[in-house]
Symmetry: D2
Subunit: 335 residues, 4 copies
């Protein structure tokens, strides 16, 4: 029975507390903390026996915490993940691993110094059934070698505090990770194009069309639309030499009504990826129970943030920005 | 240039006049008639040079009429078709060939006595691209031998003069013909089941579930829903030994909007089958120009009406009604 | 931590052992048994700490078993469920509750005598996301009052020991339960029709077309095809007064390849309903931990088996068979 | 009865001869010509009464030719269209209007000098039902203002004489025209990106990703894949402020077979756009019978070729190429 401490009990943190308490196997939540102590106490109520700590550092030190979930504000990720590594405790860190490549790199170096994997980064799409099928089809050669990927990442709307960079750092960062994983290939350049802005987006430049190039010559276009009103919709089609393979339209019931045949779509990302979050966190629990980690690595987190930084630069300048990575530690060598 | 006379210039008759005048090749409308003379004159205006006759018989006699389209009220079909046969003029008769099997049989006998095909019955679905693909797939053995067919025939709503029998004689009669054609098999029994009635249907028993059995042992279920509000929708799936083949959802644009992915559907049967009507009538024009006929025969019209009569009987009694046909004249032998 | 004993470690029993051990929250498998002792021991290996019993009765008596999953051969269900009731232990019983209505009724009476729910029957579809959406749409009045339901239950193939009745007692029994639940309505009559047999089915009469009538006047047609080769496919469309709502085609990736746009479908029912099984059994664990039961009741199990018996009778005789139920104990009153 | 002369009786020319002879209303083919005289004579056989000319100029001069279809090799278009304009005969010219912007411009100037429309360019997609629906939805504001368009233009394979530029000048030129028409907006810049090449394409750089920018700020990405093996597939999705609208998957029958649900797709562009060609040419016949022209203009042909030239330049240099147009003659003012 893995005893998990959860740092950050906002929307996603609370979801994880419920998941660890009532859905997953082999774990329970033994401690929580949040900058909003009252909220931390409220969330602790759903996890019988969970204590509330004043700080993330206190939680990491707690002898009844075997492993840690970091779901706090991105700017605090580095300090908590490093604290976990120092304490020798497996850690699941929500994406982004950290807001800057420099911070991510310090985590990478700390883990590499330990010499074994301790960190899993929260790129949950890798655990989604549909994305897994997509990868299987690509790997099986069903469509020949991949040449292009078309992606769209659409949100019905975004909260008031949303700023333009977040379409890259919060939304498209998922695509940055997933295409690397889908293609087993590295991104070498990025360019961000800005069409006419959506009137629903107030001052935010939305949508964006982001172009990625891989070392292997695959071109990827990613549409981000963060105020598209109609729903939360994630699209991806891989174009190969002899065919394409595409995510299904999420499998909801089909209504014939008022002149149309309508498949309902989710309005909320948590509905779309609920099962993926379950599978993702169960995989972490299983690996953490053995003292290690699996899935997306610190290195993956570092690369995704590096691409985000380049994309933000490109959004400002309009230019094509090459991606420059540090040397990959042997710990993260592709098997 | 085939000179066509059109008897009956109601909705479908007017459509055919426009089609013969402005869309099809090798024909023009030289004469029209209707019980509503004013309407006949109005429709004649869209066909340059068309004269207006006082009666169908006058029209058939007209020396400038080479061939005739009968689109008048069903009860008058027999007299006009027989007049055409007597005059040796090819005739296209809208479905049903006639309201009673007895009338249909007199047409069959008259044409059989002539010894060559002069009549085409207006079962336009045989000319629809999607139904043609369905038949090709069945004939190709794509799904093995057919075992079951599931059909649905749905209208958004029906006019005030609609009575319960018409769900059979006007709607399901299309399925009676099309499954015979799809399967190259004969219907041997029918049973009509009546679920709870749709509140939109006033006094009409709607929907119906009609069960057909073929000589070869195929079972067919046909839903008729004549007040289903949402649109005009024709569904058919043939279930075989190793798979199924199904009509596509009619290929309209797909809108992502308000929480749904919606394929638009037609509200009106003329939109759904516009192209089929064009192809059907062109086939008739081409055959009539050579003095003959092709496509659905008088015999097919007789059989469809016979099944309708049996189905109406079953609706009244709740029993399974066997279909009994007269001997098939050699003219209509299956090739 | 609910300690679960599992009786029967065949395919589905082994699945449940893995699920209770590695996927679900708040439970572990403390004991297993099977007529094949060797198989029981092999399955026990995947559940750390599980002991192996010689008989189901021994397992039920085990002080370290808080609740029981019955996944043995149907003919043994009654004795094990009654043993659990006698021992006051919550029990999850795979469908059918028992092969005959008489046996089911004895379970109903035993549970009713206790006066609170102890039994959950394994109709997992009620926990499937798509069926849940279907019910929500029907309950919300999206399509008006339901009038017809079209179902298909298709298996790629069936094992050598399959006999004709099993298309009813093993396959269609799921539809018998799910339409009662979908419609909140009771089945009052059944009729089974037999089309031409599928050549892949050897001596088995396959497919069947099963017609159900509800007290409220809804008509349901159920196709069972147990040798259809192409895959495992469950279809359902509810037709209402103003529209229809239909299960989605299961949401797998879409491949464009070799002249077609193909959505992959499962070959195996465990793939199709994997998530439903997880949700179903978690619901049982949660209720059993409180000493009770939720979901499909003994009464539902009794009714489903009663309909199966009537359907088997109809298959033999070709007649419409009315369903006659005993009085419903107050314990199972519809809320 | 419009008497049409057809210059060029290759694949598309022969199609048009058949269409004018056997499908369309109000026209017949009175003359044909081709550089391959034998082929011209063979094609003339399908058009009763058609004479064969030695040259396009002879055909244009023929007193029994009221209007002309130019379906010859692109390099000859200018001379034949100018000949028609000089003779005062309406002309339908297959796309491209001419291979260079300079040639197109001479046609524009000649027609503008006449002061009324005489030329229709063969951008048949504007007459396709699905594209028409797409435009209607955009114009109706269903999705708010358009912001992005995603297009794909895929051919199963291309003939041996295909060279890289043709993916732009023969394929993407259709998208250049259709997005201008869909959006009522002008293209101001183009950039062509080259991913890894498809191994099926021999020396041809395939696929391409072409980026277009409009005056109104809409961004369009166009994938051209000319060797994708699986079929002929035209995709387009317009992304607006509150939703998207997308071409349907072409409405062919759906086969359930071998582990998949497959909608068949065309292998050949003539199957996909057969109906659009009929509607397009009927519109031309109707307008030509009145001495004029409708649909895509010479100016549209000039603009499409100008964009093609810029795209070819971009493919060579990798740079973003602005589009510079001459002043638009008042004849082509947007209504």
């Amino acid at each position: 029975m893995l005893r998990v401490g959860v740092i950050g009990t906002g929307m996603i943190g609370e979801d994880h507390v419920r998941r660890l308490t009532s859905t997953l196997s082999g774990c329970r939540v033994s401690a929580v903390t949040d900058v909003d102590a009252e909220r931390a106490r409220a969330v602790a109520d759903v996890a019988p026996g969970a204590r509330v700590h004043d700080s993330g550092e206190d939680l990491v030190r707690d002898g009844e915490v075997d492993a840690v979930v970091v779901a706090s504000w991105g700017a605090t990720h580095e300090q908590y993940v490093l604290a976990c590594l120092a304490a020798g405790k497996p850690v699941f860190c929500e994406k982004p691993l950290a807001p800057s490549a420099k911070e991510c790199l310090r985590i990478v170096e700390a883990e590499a110094a330990i010499g074994r994997r301790m960190v899993q980064v929260g790129f949950m799409r890798r655990y989604d059934t549909a994305f897994a099928q997509l990868k299987r089809a690509v790997d099986a050669g069903t469509i020949g070698a991949p040449l292009l990927v078309h992606c769209a990442h659409r949100n019905a709307s975004v909260p008031g505090h949303f700023v333009a960079d977040m379409a890259i750092t919060d939304s498209a960062v998922h695509e940055f990770d997933i295409v690397r994983w889908l293609l087993d290939d590295e991104i070498v350049a990025v360019r961000v194009l800005k069409p006419r802005a959506n009137g629903h987006g107030r001052d935010v430049q939305d949508p964006l069309l982001i172009l990625l190039e891989t070392a292997g010559g695959v071109l990827i276009d990613v549409e981000t639309s963060v105020n598209i009103q109609y729903g939360y919709d994630i699209r991806a089609e891989v174009v190969g030499e002899s065919g394409t393979v595409e995510l299904p339209q999420a499998g909801n019931v089909v209504v014939r009504q008022s002149g149309g045949v309508t498949a309902l779509i989710a309005m909320d990302w948590r509905d779309r990826f609920r099962q993926a979050y379950d599978v993702e966190l169960q995989a972490w629990v299983d690996a953490a129970a053995k003292g290690g980690a699996t899935g997306p690595t610190s290195w993956d987190g570092y690369v995704a943030t590096t691409i985000s930084e380049a994309a933000v630069w490109s959004m400002g300048t309009g230019s094509r920005v090459p991606i420059k990575l540090e040397d990959r530690p042997v710990l993260y060598a592709v098997s």
